[in-house]
Amino acid sequence: MTLSLWLIPLLPLAGFLVNGLVGSRLPKALVTTVALAAPLAAFLVVVRAALAVANHSVALPYSESCPIGWINAGPIHIDFTFALDQLSLIMLLVVTGVGFLIHIYSAGYMAHEDGYWRYFAYLNLFLFFMTVLVLAENALLMFVGWEGVGLASYLLIGFYFSKTSAANAGRKAFVVNRIGDFGFLIAIFLLLANFGTVSFSGLAAALTANPGTSVALLTTISLCLLVGATGKSAQIPLYIWLPDAMEGPTPVSALIHAATMVTAGVYMVARTHFLFDRAPLALTVVAVVGAATAIFAATIGLVQTDIKRVLAYSTVSQLGYMFLGCGVAAYSAAIFHLVTHAFFKALLFLAAGSVIHGLSGEQDLRKMGGLRKKLPVTFWTMSAGVFAIAGFPLLSGFFSKDAILAAAFNQGTFGKGLYVVGLITALLTSFYMFRLWYLAFFGESRSDDHSHHPHESPWSMLGPLVILAILSVFGGWMGAGEGLGRFGAFLAPVLTPLHPAEPVEASLEYALMGVAVAVALLGWFLAHRFYGSKNDRARALAASAPGVYNLLSGKYYIDELYNRLLVQPVLFISRYILGWIVEGAIVRGSVWVAAGLINLLGEFLRRWQSGNIRSYAGWLVTAAALLLFAVLGVTLGAAGITVHFNWVGH
């Protein structure tokens, strides 16, 4: 049977076109209908495909090609081919499913905003590019989706474009992502130059056929891909755009900057794992980047006071876990964490959005407090998210985080080091999440503004929260059991690494679980000590080590560092060295030398020319007329007088 995969991206594209072109003139209800119908229809196509896979009425991998290729030039042949395998199916379910929920939520959240149609047009455009990214059967088509989601992200971060900070954040996101895309492009060039193809199946086959392919080459390619992945998935050193991206509307942060787009780097590494498997050094770098990002971002998250920024650093940190998982060749575990993270982080962002909505735009945790009673549904759903991300037993985050940590522990001494970093990160995660929980929902209200009363959100927003809360609580069970249970077994045909690790012994597994649970509880306990009741402990701790505190709240001053070391020097060189010296003195100066020569010639010519530009124009018209008649005569002569003008009729 055919699955009509092409419908999955094209439906949201149609939604984008309708709302983008005529949305400003349509009634709001119609805009909403179009905007929600598109992802729902795409989700249904995915579900149909999933059912077909479950019934075995279609064999994976399954692919569909556009009969007309995309780029055919010389040796380069690139097609529009969409492929469905176990990995892309899972990604598609998450992208369209969570995407649809967030569309519903947006209808409530954005109801009173100007540019409602524009918002949904961009959101549909994002889904188009994201599904292209996931379905792409070759690296260049994936790059289309890759840059495209960057565009959608740029547009949505800058949605409130009259705010300078939002416009800056959008541009920063795009440009930093472009640095990553530079790496991705070089990787594509390397693949084309060395293998003559960018098709994933073609590359995998080529590598299987030639086991002797140079490891140095594969390492280079993998590292270039990793540069791309660090851009899109906000890893060190290119993570700096993601916290700023919180300038966008909160549902955008949930969909693009937490659940789907930022996981594209993880998806890409998993998709090309046959390259990374053969490049052990690159894998090590992936693991180190992941672990370093995880702990680094978590430490910043400890002291942030903006509710969305806490979640943003948490996202960076959790993405680090996924890279850590990929780096220890536990691709299925990384994808598992990607899925559970999509549930609980989307939930956390949407719940935070509900809090912000209820408080009429307040994002500062220091001004919240006591919301447990006032926003009960938001509180309970958010609690599900907090406990899930902290890794409480039997919740989704517990299974997936544990799978990554166990895989790391299993990788020798080096892996045990990574495990320790991951464990500390888990402690920090639990602490900052419970800190947020206590600050927002417990104690007394600390708001200065007593005119507004917090109000619970409409059901269009609470509905998605409840569904995501259920998924966050129970979603982990699909990966419970040995080798990630059913989830692992389903993905095994695609994601089994070249050198599979020994399975972790059951007793060790339970011990690791015990440690993880203890750490999560410790984080909760510490957060409770500091923020559970009204006390001065947090402030006293900050005051006792002001250097550390400032370093963390200043985000290690990385933005300032990049500005000093990269941006300012580039601008200095462009403005002064290139602009003044090279351009001003050499390139343009040389003309005046030539001009001097011509002036001499001009003096000479002036003796017998009027110098009047109109007389030149007159001469020109005369000359053109002469030319015209000459050409006319010649052409007609050539055509032959007997047949003249006959050709006009044909």
Partner: protein
Amino acid sequence: MDTQIISLILLAPLVGAILVALVPDRGKLPAWVALATTVVTFLFTLHLPAHFHYGQAGFQFESDCLWLPSPAIHYHVGVDGLSLWLIVLAGLLGPIGVLASWNSIRDRRKTFYSLFLIQQTAMIGVFVALDLMLYYGFWELSLIPMAILIAMYGRTQSDPGGPKAALRFFLFTFIPSAPLLVALLWLYAKTHTFDFTTLQQAIASGTIPAGPLCWLSLAFLFAFAVKVPVFPLHGWLTDVFAEAPVAMAMVVAGKLGLYSLIRFHVGLFPVQARAAAPWLLVLAVIGILYGALLALVQKDFWRLLAYGTLSSLSFCVLGIYGFTLSGLDGSVYQTLNEGIIGAALFVLFGLIYERFGTSQISVYGGLASKTPALAATFTIASLALIGLPMLNGFVGEFLVLSSTFAGASRTLAVIATAGVILSAAYMLQLIQRVFLGPISDIASNLEDHDRDFDLDFRERLVLWPLAVLMLVMGLAPALWLRAIEPAVQPASLPAQVHAARPTPPVSAQLVVSGGQQ
């Protein structure tokens, strides 16, 4: 029809120019005549792709007759895959140029449109001429109206904006034309022909010694490189962009020079072109980065566009001198892209300038909320320029960069790819400073007027087809590449193969295709 169509295309604008000169200078009448002429010309140019034999190398729609017996100058014109789309592009830019000048040219309309139409003929003439003297005539003819119009319609009021830019343009393009003419005459003296294919064979068969060939090829290269422009010969570009009327500025750079490089530098002197390639590759890569870096710090949007154009034209040069098939494909494609994207950006800047009267970027800001359609169109054109996939700029850049990487030099390709980052930086910064952020004084003044400042019907008519073209060219490049590839194939082959065969396959096909017409 097929043998006469090119003559028709060349004649139509000239007839229009005479008509414009004859009609009374009443209101917009000259503009209407010019518009009708350019539309007819454009429709004529569409005949070419409709009846082109795809997949066939060599010239089609050929017409050859003796014009002057001594020196033997022929009226020899023809089209191949290299020139096909450039002619159509030139045809398309005709009506767009007229519409872009609709309101901005208010006085001496007859002069303006006459010269504009002559320039139109000259430009198409450059693409179709297969006799080198005829080519030279068109080449020179294209420069004169340009220089006059820049002088007459200089944009800045500051004395002497226009004339100074015109002088600069004139100096830059006329000085290199002189050695080009000398080289042509020298070739004629040796071979007694100006015919392109005859000369190509004569040079390939070794009639002319290597020493003079080297000088000849340099004379050609110099003339064309200035016109492209190739770094560091771009000294005229910024002033011309800042001063020239929009309709002129959008055709002044790129196409003519790049076409001439491929046809006459690489085509006539394959061995010498290869020898010069390493230098040109390096200059191209410098041009990409240099243009982008300077665009990053410009305060005037015309100058920003000039440096951005330098940067994207350098991609075309990079593709040509890599001598790979896909790179040449990409170069020609990128030339078309540059024509379309550049035209759109010029029209957009032109209408912003028309509304607000300044090109200082710093006084703008927050326009998007007042002029959403303008902002959206500008964003699409900018995204095409910075090479967003699915838009046309990406296809050209990708082909050029990937073939440079696989063929000419990995290091150069990697450095050039960094230009991709910078292009995003300068274009998005421009968008932000003009359209986003808090509403500037200039934008808030709009509320005092009753007029709607967003795109009007005429502007949509110009811009939206261009935007659609950017998308279609990004999605289905095959429509264009299938004509381009056979035409650039010979240039990608090693030069010695060319010289070794007594009758190269290209010319063999030429005879056949010529005979069929």
